[in-house]
């Protein structure tokens, strides 16, 4: 059953996370981004980024994000060229970003408190 193009046949409650918009370029993500979100999360971040030169993704309600999710953020920023500001990320995400080499490979992502 496919109810939404981004959800690829999985019922929304099974995705583990939610992304929503709260105004011009302002996005929020909450919940847990893991293997259940492997297709939906990159697709949703991409469609959020594609519409604008810059976006802010508030991660303060994000409980967990896996390496594929972190990689999706890097790939979308790199692919679209959208200036991506990540707000309220945990230490593990920031450290992983650096250890994966994304801070040198992707220059249009900013972390802010």
């Amino acid at each position: 059953m496919c109810v939404h193009p981004h959800r690829l046949g999985v019922a929304p409650e099974d995705l583990g996370f939610r992304i929503w918009n709260s105004g011009e370029g302002r996005w929020h993500v909450s919940g847990q981004v893991d293997l259940r979100a492997a297709q939906a999360f990159p697709a949703m971040v991409r469609s959020a980024a594609e519409g604008s030169d810059r976006m802010c993704l508030d991660c303060s309600e994000l409980d967990f994000i896996d390496v594929a999710g972190i990689r999706a953020l890097a790939q979308v920023a790199h692919g679209t060229g959208t200036l991506m500001r990540l707000r309220g990320t945990g230490q593990t995400l920031r450290r992983s970003w650096q250890l994966l080499g994304f801070d040198s490979a992707v220059t249009n992502v900013e972390f802010c408190p």
């Binding site: 293997l35 990689r71 790199h78 994304f102 490979a105």
Partner: protein, 324 residues
């Protein structure tokens, strides 16, 4: 056994040269490594020295002004998890592979204080250096082994993992290399010691819907054993990646075990899959090439990662973090 009289000469057409340097005590270490470094500098070959203290300072002092032309890396930090060493050499190779004079390195992955578990992974690392660099540009890596401080079996193993041996004046080919127990296949088949059953804190099988529960379990146990919160969060990410690999590549499910061993916390994930890339987790991830990022990150965040994988018994990955 073939002998060459001038141990420090290398044929111009040779590929990667990986030699063990056997020495007894600090004086021989300094004399032999300094000779190797000065020989490199005379030939205008860049050289990177990755050894631990006090040997780093001893060599630096002996080199005096020459040390300004040598790059040093602290092997104690870099090599705590030996799986982080090959990527550092890979960077060195990428920096200098176009150089017409060639280039060199001194790398000391094994020292007397290594734990038995880390020692085995170091020996696998020594063998994997050949796998990683044999088909690449020519360069010369020397691995110092202290015959006074290291037990005999460790020196014997150095003969198995190094195509060449320098033990004083002469260089000779190791008659033990390549060793049949150290092919890429058999390294992944080396046995892992069983944990003490009394120390096992959790044991559970998992599938996709269990990932959240699994993460909570690891977080709870890690904190209960005294791991600081940020490191517990790192460990949760690592175990999540291992479990994700099991679900994606290991038949859809796997088993987690978590226990304490001396002053380390160990997490083990088992599944029915097969890892056939001996260098997995040792290649810097690339944005345009998926795969391997989870094990790469595990190597960066954990003190030791042990990978075993055979067609018969599937895959086991153990990660270890220090509790103190």
């Amino acid at each position: 056994m073939t002998m060459t009289t001038a141990g420090h000469q290398r044929p111009a057409d040779a590929g990667f040269r990986h030699d063990a340097l056997l020495y007894a005590g600090p004086e021989q270490f300094v004399a032999r490594t300094a000779a190797f470094v000065r020989d490199a500098l005379e030939q205008e070959q860049p050289i990177l020295v990755a050894v631990i203290e006090p040997r780093r300072s001893l060599l630096r002092d002996e080199l005096g002004q020459d040390a300004e032309h040598v790059e040093f890396l602290d092997m104690w930090n870099l090599g705590r998890n030996p799986a982080r060493i090959i990527p550092a050499w890979q960077q060195w190779v990428e920096r200098h592979q176009g150089s017409t004079n060639g280039f060199r390195g001194i790398g000391e992955p094994i020292w007397a204080e290594r734990s038995p578990q880390a020692l085995v992974e170091c020996q696998i690392h020594e063998q994997l250096l050949n796998t990683a660099f044999d088909d690449g540009p020519p360069w010369w890596l020397l691995c110092p082994y202290d015959t006074e401080a290291l037990p005999e079996p460790v020196i014997t193993r150095a003969h198995d993992t190094h195509p060449g041996i320098l033990d004083g004046e002469a260089h000779h080919r190791s008659t033990h290399y390549p060793h049949h127990e150290l092919s890429a296949d058999s390294m992944f088949a080396m046995p892992l010691p069983d944990p003490d059953p009394a120390q096992i804190r959790s044991r559970r099988s998992f599938r996709l819907p269990d990932l959240t529960t699994l993460r909570t379990e690891v977080d709870t146990q890690a904190r209960a054993l005294g791991l600081p919160a940020t490191r517990a969060t790192d460990l949760v990410l690592v175990v999540n990646e291992l479990a994700t690999n099991s679900i994606r590549h290991g038949g859809g499910d796997g088993t987690l075990r978590l226990w304490r061993e001396h002053d380390e916390l160990v997490c083990e994930v088992r599944d029915a899959g097969l890892i056939d890339d001996p260098l997995i987790g040792r290649r810097r991830p690339r944005l345009d090439r998926p795969g391997g990022a989870g094990l790469w990150l595990s190597n960066q965040l954990c003190d030791l990662v042990q990978i075993r994988s055979t067609r018969e018994s599937g895959t086991i990955v153990r990660v270890r973090v220090a509790l103190s």
